[in-house]
Symmetry: C2
């Protein structure tokens, strides 16, 4: 074909448009300063209580209000579960769901790129 347009044929065009729209959905779901870090912390370290999370080095600086809000958001999207434990002082455990674990390869790619990016920033 001799057409030198920037667009490909219709089907392919539709396909990748849908793909990009899907990536917009993901960004809508995961955008923000803390969500990925919370998910990654629960993925790497297993179930954790509220205070454990707020004191985690990987979540350094997060406040109780934000943590609470983000945990509710992640729970509503079925990425984590919240379990009340009827212990002496009541404790609450947060844990990643099976569905949340499906984010692992995405998070891994993010970490890979992020570590390379850090190196690049430092050498520049």
């Amino acid at each position: 074909m001799t057409i030198q347009t920037t667009s490909k044929h219709a089907l392919c065009n539709e396909d990748h448009t849908q793909a990009i729209l899907a990536s917009r959905d993901v960004m809508e779901l995961l955008s923000g300063k803390w969500k990925i870090a919370i998910i990654a912390t629960l993925s790497f370290e297993g179930k954790k209580r509220f205070m454990d999370l707020s004191r985690a080095k990987s979540l350094e600086g997060i406040g109780a209000k934000i943590l609470s809000k983000e945990l509710q958001n992640l729970e509503s999207n079925q990425l984590i579960t919240r379990t009340v434990c009827h212990t002496k002082p009541i404790t609450v455990e947060y844990e990643i769901t099976e569905y949340g674990k499906t984010l692992n390869s995405l998070i891994t790619e993010m970490i890979k790129w992020g570590l390379e990016h850090r190196k690049r920033i430092m050498t520049l």
Copy 2:
């Protein structure tokens, strides 16, 4: 391994804390409604002019002000280039950089997960 503690040994712990902090950097860089979509559009469709981008189906709804601001942001992070073409009405081409292309596997993972997520949302 039979260790059922929540924390691993010191080195590993340090490592994954650094990893999670790296993922926070990435989210800081790419967070927002449009950045990933702009990068993906330029990756999939090659170089594009300002008006092409603002009319792209994958960026439907973006306004001139936001597009302009996000393009400047991506350029400042060396993910895209801006080239002024001295044509009849002056045109400007935006193109992904080699460094920007290194985001491809991350974007691919995002699209994969996003497409599965869309299916899930629809069946629920």
